[in-house]
Amino acid sequence: MEDLEGKKILVIQTHGVDTPTRTYSPVYYAIAAAAMEMDVMIWFTMNGTNQLRKGEAEKIELKPGSGVTLKTLLDQALDAGVKLSVCQQSMDLWDMKPEDLIDGVKILGATSIIDLALDADHVMYF
C-alpha cells in the first residue's frame, strides 16, 4: 500500500434523492480515501444538493433491511474527516436555506470549486 498521505481528492456529486442508487458510492469512495489518509472533499451540486436537506438522507436505505442509510454514510464521512461542501447557487434551485442543511456542511460558491479543482491531485466526478 503506497503512502498517499496528504493527496487531495475532490469528489463532485451531482446525483441526489431522486436517484438513490447513485448516491452511496461517491460518499463511500470519499470515506475510503480519507481512511487512506488523503485530504478529501465532496462537493454537492445540481441534484446532489437535495440529499443534504435535513431528514432526506435518512430516507435512503443502502439495501432494504440493512439499517444503513445515506445519512449513516454521510455521518461516517464527517467522522472520517471528509469535508462536505455544497454549491450555493444550487441551494437556491432547491429552495434550501443554510438552516435546512445537515450539520457539518460548508456552503461555497462557484469560484471556490474551480480553485479546489485546480488544487486537487484528482477530481472524481459523479
Binding site: D3, A32, Q76
Partner: protein, 152 residues
C-alpha cells in the same frame, strides 16, 4: 476459556492490551516487538470484510495513524495503530483472505508486528485484563453496539 472475557458475545482475551475507542489490540512478544490487530467487536461492526490493505514493512507510524484499511459492504475505515513504532512485519494473509479478520481476529487475523518506540508511555493509555472487559462493556452499552456474530 476463562482467560477470555465475553462482552455481548464478543471475545476479549484478557492477556492483550486494548485501545477500546479504536477497537484494536496489542500483544507483547518476547523479542521486544508487539503484534497489533483489530478486535472481535471491530470485525462485528464492519461485517464480512471484502478487502483489506496493510501498510508496508519499514514504515514508521505514530500512534493513531493507520496501519491499514478495511472495507466491508457497509463500512470502510482505517485500522489505527495504538502504539508508535516501525512496522517490522505485515500479515500478507489479511490481504489475500480478508475474512480471516472476521474468523480469527486475535490469531490468524493479526495485522502487523511493530517495534514500538514509546511503549512505556503509551501502554499507560491502553487497558488489559478485567479493566479492558469493563471498558468494553461500558462502550458497547453507551453506544448500543450489537452483539457479536461469528462467521466460520
Amino acid at each position: 476459556m476463562s482467560d477470555v472475557g465475553i462482552v455481548r458475545g464478543c471475545k476479549i482475551p484478557k492477556d492483550l492490551y486494548y485501545s477500546v475507542d479504536d477497537h484494536t489490540w496489542v500483544r507483547v512478544n518476547d523479542d521486544g516487538t508487539v503484534t497489533v490487530g483489530m478486535t472481535d467487536v471491530a470485525q462485528n461492526l464492519a461485517g464480512p470484510v471484502l478487502h483489506a490493505k496493510v501498510k508496508k514493512v519499514g514504515l514508521t507510524r505514530a500512534k493513531g495513524k493507520p496501519i491499514g484499511t478495511v472495507e466491508s459492504a457497509k463500512w470502510v475505515g482505517p485500522i489505527k495503530t495504538p502504539v508508535s513504532g516501525e512496522i517490522v512485519e505485515v500479515n500478507e494473509k489479511v490481504t489475500e483472505d480478508p475474512q480471516i479478520l472476521n474468523r480469527d481476529p486475535y490469531g490468524e487475523g493479526w495485522v502487523v508486528k511493530m517495534k514500538p518506540t514509546n511503549w512505556d508511555e503509551e501502554v499507560k493509555e491502553l487497558v488489559t485484563g478485567e479493566e479492558a472487559i469493563q471498558k468494553y462493556l461500558e462502550k458497547v452499552e453507551r453506544e448500543d453496539i450489537k452483539a457479536c456474530e461469528h462467521i466460520e
